[in-house]
């Protein structure tokens, strides 16, 4: 059984993130990058499925500039078996539809993929749409936002927690699943994992390897355009008081003054 985990290298959310001029794309150079925290849950879930199953292979797949290889390396250190990095200058500035187009082509090229796993969102774009787009393009059932996932033979079953209800969703393999941060506790790479990752195979593919037309991806092919980017004005410093036995009363007074009471 082959599992492909889609991962993304993102600017560190703890850093001061921003945009590049003049095209208003996410700055992926001026800010340190790392494996998107939410993708660690997908890698972990794949590793758990491998440990529980027979003859399960875990391949991680990313697209992005050279630096994205770091995210592949981290996943291999956690325990994935091999990596694929789609790297091509023409990809820069791709929107979600183009991202799903490239990832779908890469999944097809990897071949014989029983389960595609992803995180619930990237921590930079935070759209949560690539998994559904990828499922649509691959013509696979999507079982997404899984807080629990079980494989039973050729059936995948998940728990999806919604606003008003919790759903059980079931599909036959081959399928695509996205997982939330509720599903597991991602492992840290062990020393052994870090050492053995150096010997694991990583393939780098360009668009030509995937048969994707460069004019269908990248900034110029994006289906949306940014008109303006404005830094949010810093919030003006508010009043902070120290509780001297009357903190609650002062809080209530503030709320009353602002018509919340």
């Amino acid at each position: 059984m082959r599992i492909v985990v889609c991962i993304k290298h993102v600017p560190d959310a703890q850093a001061e993130r921003g945009f590049t001029e003049p095209d208003a794309t996410t700055d992926r150079v001026g800010v340190d990058g790392l494996l998107s925290e939410l993708d660690e849950y997908a890698v972990e879930e794949a590793l758990k499925l491998r440990e529980a199953g027979d003859d399960v292979e875990v391949v991680v797949l990313t697209m992005g500039p050279e630096g994205a290889a770091d995210a592949v390396r981290k996943s291999l250190q956690m325990g994935a078996d091999s990596g694929v990095h789609v790297c091509d200058d023409a990809i820069a500035g791709s929107d979600a539809p183009a991202t799903s187009l490239v990832l779908a082509a890469a999944v097809e090229k990897i071949g014989d993929v029983d389960l595609v796993l992803t995180g619930m969102a990237s921590t930079d774009g935070v759209m949560s749409v690539v998994p559904a787009m990828l499922a649509e393009r691959l013509g696979r059932p999507q079982v997404t936002f899984a807080s629990e996932l079980t494989l039973d033979g050729a059936t995948v079953t998940i728990r999806r927690d919604g606003d008003a209800s919790t759903q059980t969703v079931q599909a036959a393999l081959p399928a695509l699943a996205s997982v939330t941060d509720q599903i597991n506790e991602p492992r840290y790479p062990s020393f052994k994992g870090i050492m053995s990752a150096k010997k694991k195979p990583v393939e780098t593919w360009g668009l030509a390897d995937l048969g994707v037309d460069p004019s269908d991806v990248g900034l110029s092919a994006a289906w949306t355009t940014v008109v303006a980017v404005t830094p949010r004005p810093p919030r003006s410093a508010g009043e902070v008081v120290t509780d001297e036995g009357d903190g609650g009363t002062r809080l209530a007074a503030f709320l009353a003054e602002h018509k919340f009471v």
Partner: protein, 318 residues
Amino acid sequence: MAQVLVLVEHVDGAVRKSTLELLTLARRLGEPAAVLVGDDAGAAVDALAEHGASTVYTVPSGEVTEHLVAPTAEVLAQLVASAAPAAVLLPSSPDGKEVAARLAVRTSSGLVTDAVDVELEDGAVTTTQSVFAGSYSVRARVTRGTPIVTVKPNSVAVEAAPVTATTEAVTVSLSPAATSARITATTARERSGRPDLAEAAVVVTGGRGTNGDFTPVETFADSLGAAVGASRAAVDAGWYPHANQVGQTGKTVSPQLYVAAGVSGAIQHRAGMQTSKTIVAVNKDGEAPIFDLVDFGVVGDLFAVLPQAAEEIGRRRG
């Protein structure tokens, strides 16, 4: 005037406030046309017409609601083809975003998610989003196909605009791919009796500082008629349900008033509440980053401050 399709969210025919917000925004772009998946449309149609939906497309639930996301996207794609709308507006819920995602690919249309505003500018549908944990505001336009936009709750004040609605039953024919992920069970969540977190005008959130005791947070919330949220630390510790989590991997809220009690204010938390209108914090640690955001803050013990505030609010309300 071209139609603007609005995907209706309802609970057993009770239309959610977020849908009325979408209808309010849709009127800026064209003629609102609601898409209602459900079998007992009656009361819902009245509420939709009250808010400007001159057409209500009714879709029988059956196969559509028995399968995850994909059938709804196919129904909307069918309507995009037949009605040639000026835009499609959906709620920024997990389901809404995933339906939008599939619809975008299916109709080769540009998609904007988590908009906090939508307007017509120079004849183009123009969206505003708050990105990078609220540190930037981005205005964008769709340049291909039919603009598909998911909108966050509380992005606009609901305005009524009564019209007479024409209902039109939609005949659905789904592809095998759309019915490949079956919903085999649905368990309704227990209702807390408090307002819905994503839609509430006031939200009170408890964090690590509660040490697992949410009583003062809930009592204070109830004194204001507020929804209760929890930080990721509190949810991970098992103190409060994940459905109440505010932050990057939980709900994004944008209420009139946000009160953070015992919440330090990590970037992941700020991503979920930074666009709130008025922010108040109570925290023992005066150095907590949450105080950088507040309009009013109390450095103190939430177990002393919140009960006193709740009592004072009760007294003021008589």
